[in-house]
Symmetry: D2
């Protein structure tokens, strides 16, 4: 490596970064001290959203490869980058503490000057939700959020929605898991045998009986979900994960101790943590907005906190994985895997 | 001070504290490693609940004194202890990260052995909610939560409900605020003049006109709330804060810059932060429970997360203060206080 | 307010912010995934440094006013903005968790391409230290850090060093505190009576006797410091705070319960918290650098962690305030203030 | 599982836990409000120390098994529990925020009543350091800390020091890593061939040449360390990790992408994080003590912060692993492993 001559300020483009704050209250000759905080915290959020999109794209790229479902270095990289996303999301939650050092009265000094700008115009955040797997039709208040965006930004989100999301890639990856394949077919990924026959069928049949107790104490809609998971692949058109994929995920959770299932388990776990941090962020965000503007109309022209509340309940992207925890049974009651299966899931 | 001879272990009663963990899974000869974490984290929570109750009692005692509404050292102590409560609640939220290092499968190893024990039997937490101002009739799922508790614990909560809560004391303290009294009456706390007459009436009449814009863009139920705040004291039997008290709180928010209003503003702000941290704790707690047991029945015999979800929406104790932020107007549009009023709110 | 037409992206200058990341590893056709994180986290740090400088400048401006040492709204604003700085610094400490998701091997992929750029070239951070009160002559490794900077950046720091720092303004503000003035002179700020005579002299004489015990158990250099604090103003040329100012600070700590001393106490407390968070940030930063590059030479051309270690011990800006805690005595042993003094420190 | 009848309060032994707070200031009829916080926060710390000891013991037990160095479920459990320890340590750092809500004046109200009790009498924390691998001879201020403890507590720590520590077990585990063994010997753990001969010798010889550049820019004592790592096992009697073990650790860091090295890398990483969190805790603890008592003598009879400062520099338990990061080279320059070696580190 020939010695380069990089300077800190040039490298970080600080001329652009540090001269990009133009408070509206100055333009109106009504300077409001806290508007600088308001601008800088949103710019920091957008920088982190860019980083999150960068990580999610790299994860999607790796998961698109056919060979990822053996424990290749790539899968370790997927886990590493997903857990980095979790770490970043925790920081974004913490960042709300800084925003809350602005009191409602301090915000009032300039909030009317920002209309109709609003955090709901953050196309990066919506693109992030889309890349993870949130579809337009699943969004709360679709018309509203479209109405907030200009066409070029809508196009960016649309594009993100049209790419293969992490959720879609997760489904394909889980369906490829050849736990119940013949050893000979271990490495090639032909369509798997239908659930109606072969070892998988038998395994899950046993499992359903073992689980019957847990099923009894579950809620009704949960029992229905349980059945679709063990029914054939055609059920539940509204679902993002096929029964086959759900069974693979459940199998990973149940037998995560086996070497070959350790990283896959970490993948599932990281995705649930991402969902949880996203929802924590929405919740703290909602509380903060409520505290800041009470029941007023937000600068975006509608009550932001209603949107946030709706999103809170509807935007769980990996909910189908989360629900599988209802179907776990005690380790000591688990079916013991055959020696051959054990070898398959081990390293030798 | 004669030199005592205190030993660390005796002082902290470590013999009792460190020998109080008896995993059920050991009794059943089915040792589950993670049960120790489960016990210790709950014991840590209960220790902190005791501390929170200790602080809230001391705050209530101070606020019961008639003279507290000048800026006495006591009021500073109230602010200091309320913000300590906020700091502790933030720690309790963080503590959920530790609980989440337990996976659903690890919990399954012993959860059935705990029936019917359940976190909903934490009478200290319920007593804390009650001391702050949550009344029994406002609780979500009253019958359910009673059904979870033994009589002696119910009595503890009842006792807490029957004492004057922080919310009640806040109302009395705010009603005593003699902002619009005659200077001569400054120090004595006789019943204040009715709002229909005198300077207060005039002030708020002006204020309503100034605010009309904000009112226009508020939601319907908010407009109604606005009117009750400025109507006579008899309206809204369901309310915990009288119109008079709400007006005093609003006045404090609007003119917090005045020396005499600085600590009162910090009191209101700390109470809102306590509500926010409590609700964040409930939300993270709910997500954690969901992730841990899915849609199963909790050890307590019912779905804990439904209870938590209900509590989430209903248990905002200082909501009436929070709503007042809807009625703020820009500083630059505020009525300028009379010189006499200014002096009253200053130090000389 | 005429309705403006502000758009989110334009308002936040996202075109500039989100297109300011140019990884060196791309230029070298050796793309390193983690360089994007490296760039974005440093840009986020610089955004927050700008905000901290913005707050510190506004605090300095307020503290430059002669009238600030009665409890005016300005003093409340000072407290509010200093504690906001504490909140931001806690976020910057947390941000290190994100940096630590980059492993040493991942950093190695591009670190050599960054030479000689280095975090030590962050002139904003050095300007922040200077504005708070760190003088050039007190810096660890002066030559080194100068060698890292280009002239225009050195000039920025020099300029910051030449303005009145918070520490200097704190000294002037404390010296103005007229606790022991004649009531008549309450509001004018003439030079105070020398400590050798008058009520202040008598007060501290009593205090020294009461404290004698504490002094006995203090370290030697601490005893010397104690004496200089109560000696005349000419002692200790190396000191940033005059004995007169130190006595005022000590008085505030001892009698903070009095209304007039409540905000001043919060000012002192916030400044100590800023120092503590800055040092925590340096410590975590040092650990992180150590973990990242071991004992290698940093990209800046010298071992960064040695610089950080040196700064860690030397860069406590408000150390002279912190040391005063050694001279406190139990509340119950405090000299009772005269009725007249009590009135002066109260509101009536 | 027959339905048990466990009650929350009995299960958690709340009678013992919640009635174990006896403020000294009450006994002296000089009640100090904040002593309750002081007691409860220390009890919470001791509860968490018990949990940390519980986890470290379970990790030690697993690492004592001969077969742990293939990727068995046990190794995953080791990683899981070590990272749980990191999560708990982060909470303990956060807990200092709560302690800091106590001001020096509030502490003064009761601190003299606690003599000679002191946090340095926490035998659980010292046992934790010992179980991780800190030896008595490496401790800062050995005589001092012994003088603080009663014999029965000293015995507890001695016992912990005499058991095989995580550091010792790490060394044995790393030495067993048969990366350069003949394939046929893969599963048995006979003493490995001396470094002077065979594939390992050749591999590291190549590596030293590749690294020469990095060595040039390292510090002197680091170059010496580098040489000992590649010298025979007899060098450096003061060392806790043998050269053979260090080379294995370095190999794991360099080639962590290989399936078989993924969990071992996570083990090393978690141990470094534990060290880092422990040192962050010591640093924040030291700052807090400094702020609380200034330069006074601590209740333990000596200046606590000096002890903490000394410990800060000396008590890095896994420093020898941390230093290896100095010897990494860019991935693209790494020696490509032979096909046979690759297979060994893969799953087939």
């Amino acid at each position: 490596m020939t010695n380069t001559n990089v300077q800190y300020g040039d490298y970080l483009q600080l001329e652009n970064i540090l001269n990009a704050q133009f408070p509206e209250s100055d333009k109106h000759q009504l300077p409001a001290h806290d508007e600088m905080l308001f601008i800088i915290i949103h710019q920091a959020y957008e920088l982190w959203f860019k980083q999150l999109l960068y990580e999610v794209d790299s994860v999607a790229e790796i998961m698109s490869k056919p060979a990822v479902n053996d424990n290749s270095p790539e899968l370790q990289t997927v886990v590493h980058r997903l857990s980095r996303m979790v770490t970043i999301l925790k920081l974004l939650v913490h960042q709300i503490d800084v925003m809350e050092t602005m009191t409602p009265m301090d915000f009032l000094d300039f909030r009317d000057m920002l209309r109709p700008a609003s955090g709901f115009q953050s196309w990066q955040f919506k693109a992030l939700e889309a890349r993870l797997g949130l579809q337009y039709k699943q969004r709360f208040g679709q018309e509203y959020y479209i109405s907030q965006l200009k066409q070029d930004k809508i196009d960016i989100i649309r594009k993100a929605e049209n790419e293969k999301s992490i959720l879609t890639l997760l489904n394909e990856w889980l369906e490829r898991m050849p736990f119940f394949e013949e050893p000979g077919n271990w490495t090639n990924y032909k369509a798997v045998t239908p659930v109606e026959a072969g070892p998988e069928h038998i395994f899950w049949q046993d499992y359903r009986q073992l689980y019957s107790g847990g099923l009894a104490e579950a809620e009704k809609d949960n029992r229905e979900y349980f059945n679709t998971v063990f029914a054939d692949a055609n059920a539940g058109g509204e679902r993002n994960l096929s029964p086959k994929a759900c069974r693979a995920a459940l199998f990973i959770m149940l037998y995560r101790g086996y070497p070959l299932l350790q990283l896959p388990f970490q993948v599932l776990n990281s995705l649930l943590e991402i969902d949880e941090q996203l929802s924590t962020w929405r919740y703290r965000h909602m509380s903060m907005v409520h505290r800041m503007i009470g029941s007023r109309i937000g600068t975006g022209g509608s009550t932001g906190k209603d949107y946030l509340k709706g999103a809170l309940d509807k935007h769980f992207i990996f909910a189908e994985i989360a629900r599988l925890t209802s179907f776990l049974i005690e380790r000591r009651k688990l079916p013991v895997l055959s020696h051959e299966m054990g070898q398959r899931l081990g390293f030798q």
